[in-house]
């Protein structure tokens, strides 16, 4: 009983430390987003380039970092919280994007608002997919695939995404590195 309580306390402490890692990453991501918004200061109600740039770049970075951390690196306790949930989550923003779109809509620029959301969505999805693909196929040697079921982690980012290891990911990647394919079931 005392041991169970100690274990629960340990989990709480670890969760607290993860939350600190998220906060630290979030602070740095926010500062980076602010720097980009200052550097690319927009012109009134034109196309909101700063938000677009951070959202697409952050989507690429999140897809890349999550895939590397979940599928390639040895299990880490805080890197996912720091880099993915914290930094990438804090660097990109959803609320600013939709408020910018709504403002343009209110000022008779509904076409621009729709274009902005559509382009952000398409570019963001492509960037996320490119980040994932980059981590899997191009950047790193193919290692053991694994998933980390971790109910205590913050956010599901990466938790439910590890694909079935019995399914070959892509013929190309497997063909590039003979001998490293997963054994057929």
């Amino acid at each position: 009983m005392g041991r169970a309580r100690a274990a629960a306390g340990g989990r709480r402490a670890e969760r607290g430390l993860r939350l600190c890692a998220v906060a630290l990453g979030g602070a740095l991501g926010t500062l980076a987003r602010y720097a980009v918004s200052r550097a690319l200061a927009g012109d009134g109600l034109g196309f909101p380039w700063p938000t677009f740039v951070v959202n697409v770049a952050g989507s690429l970075l999140l897809g890349l970092s999550i895939t590397v951390l979940v599928e390639r690196w040895p299990p880490t306790r805080f890197l996912r919280a720091l880099v993915a949930v914290g930094f990438c989550g804090g660097f990109t923003t959803f609320s600013t994007m939709v408020v910018e779109a709504a403002q343009r809509g209110q000022h008779g620029r509904a076409g621009l608002a729709v274009l902005y959301l559509a382009v952000s969505l398409i570019a963001g999805l492509l960037a996320a997919a490119a980040g994932i693909g980059l981590a899997r196929g191009r950047l790193l040697p193919r290692g053991e695939r694994r998933s980390i079921p971790d109910p205590d982690d913050f956010g599901r980012v990466g938790g439910h995404t590890a694909p079935d290891p019995t399914i070959p990911r892509s013929g190309r990647a497997a063909a590039d590195r003979p001998g490293t394919e997963q054994a057929a079931p």
Binding site: A27, T30, L31, G90, V98, A128, G155, T161
Partner: protein
């Protein structure tokens, strides 16, 4: 001054997102990313109110930057949204992927517009 404020607000916003997401997602029996959806919609509504009220009176540019760019900018996230949509597609959950996309953008835009209108009344 503004840098320090942004660091604190960004840290709080990101931690709040992680907490809300964890609490909601634990109660969900599925992969559908309801936690981030709730975070993004609530953050969009509140940012709309802040921006709407700042345009008329109230909030100074300094506090709008701290609360809007810092707190709500970090609380809401675009990258987790796009990642979730892509991983749902990867897992063959096309319906959930499409629903998450439509709900996020449609309701997010609605929440922002409602917030702007609400804020301008304040």
């Amino acid at each position: 001054m503004i840098i320090g404020g942004l660091l604190i607000a960004g840290a709080l916003g990101a931690a709040l997102r992680a907490g809300v997401d964890m609490v909601i997602q634990r109660r969900m029996g599925s992969d559908f990313p309801l936690g981030i959806l709730v975070v993004n919609l609530s953050g969009s509504l509140v940012l709309g109110v802040l921006v709407g009220s700042a345009a008329h009176n109230g909030l100074s540019p300094f506090w709008l930057t701290i609360a809007g760019t810092g707190l709500l900018g970090a609380y809401t996230t675009f990258s987790t949204f796009t990642f979730d949509v892509v991983s749902l597609m990867e897992n063959g959950e096309w319906g959930a992927s499409a629903m998450n996309t439509l709900l996020s953008l449609g309701a997010g835009l609605g929440a922002a517009a409602a917030g702007l209108a609400l804020g301008s009344l304040m």
